[in-house]
């Protein structure tokens, strides 16, 4: 499913740092609205460029982007060095 929350944490060495739970679902809503608006133009561009090749690719953008975002949940990146602790996690 789509990740609903993104956890972002940055903590400089010796300091308290910032931990943020961001409702990333808001970004998906805005993104889908934008993509919906662009859909007719994408379809038109796909039809116009169908013979030269990119048309099929343009049509594939939507399902592939959907697939990537859908499977983003569970991604966890955490790094720690001498200066900072950084964590980005999608849930």
């Amino acid at each position: 499913m789509f990740p609903i929350w993104m956890r972002f944490k940055i903590r400089p060495e010796g300091k308290r740092g910032v931990s943020l739970w961001f409702p990333v679902i808001l970004i998906w809503i805005i993104l889908w609205a934008l993509m919906l608006v662009l859909l007719p133009f994408m379809l038109l561009a796909a039809v116009l460029t169908w013979r030269r090749g990119p048309g099929l690719i343009l049509l594939a953008v939507y399902p592939m982007l959907f697939s990537v975002l859908w499977n983003l949940s569970g991604l966890h990146v955490e790094t720690r060095d001498a200066e900072n602790d950084v964590l980005i996690s999608f849930r």
Partner: protein, 138 residues
């Protein structure tokens, strides 16, 4: 059941080894319980690819990296990579070659990934005796 498993079980049946010994031997040869639960397709049901970088004994820095990537995301990303225009594909490959990776990304298919993951149990790489990089699936 392969030949090694059969021999161990026969030794157990004949009383040559104890149950505890049989368990150890089965674990050593990759017996039941040492692998991931199989998915319906018969392949291991790995959900995540994990990459852990930890400082080794000879490392001065205390840098740590802990990455968990869903396998489905990798598969989706591979499909997405197919959308890279032909002109850009060449540039990507040249850039990878400059970094020492002589790999054509566009030729990596989802099946290649499945094969790689199926054979990737738990790999630990030590970089110049400093950092330990552990790559495994869970």
């Amino acid at each position: 059941m392969n030949e090694e498993h059969r021999k161990i079980l026969e030794m157990l049946k004949e009383g040559k080894i104890s149950v505890a010994d049989a368990e150890k031997l089965l674990a050593a040869v990759g017996g039941p319980g040492t692998e991931a639960p199989a998915a319906p397709g018969g392949k291991p049901g790995w959900k995540y690819l994990r990459v852990l970088v930890e400082p080794g004994p000879g490392s001065e820095s205390q840098d740590k990296v802990n990455i968990r990537v869903p396998m489905k995301l990798i598969r989706a990303g591979l499909k997405f990579a197919a959308l890279i225009p032909q002109a850009a594909q060449g540039k990507v490959n040249v850039a990878l070659k400059e970094k020492g990776l002589n790999v054509d990304l566009m030729k990596i298919s989802p099946q290649d990934l499945e094969d790689l993951v199926a054979n990737l149990n738990d790999m630990t790489v030590e970089v110049d005796g400093k950092d330990k990089v552990r790559i495994f699936c869970e």
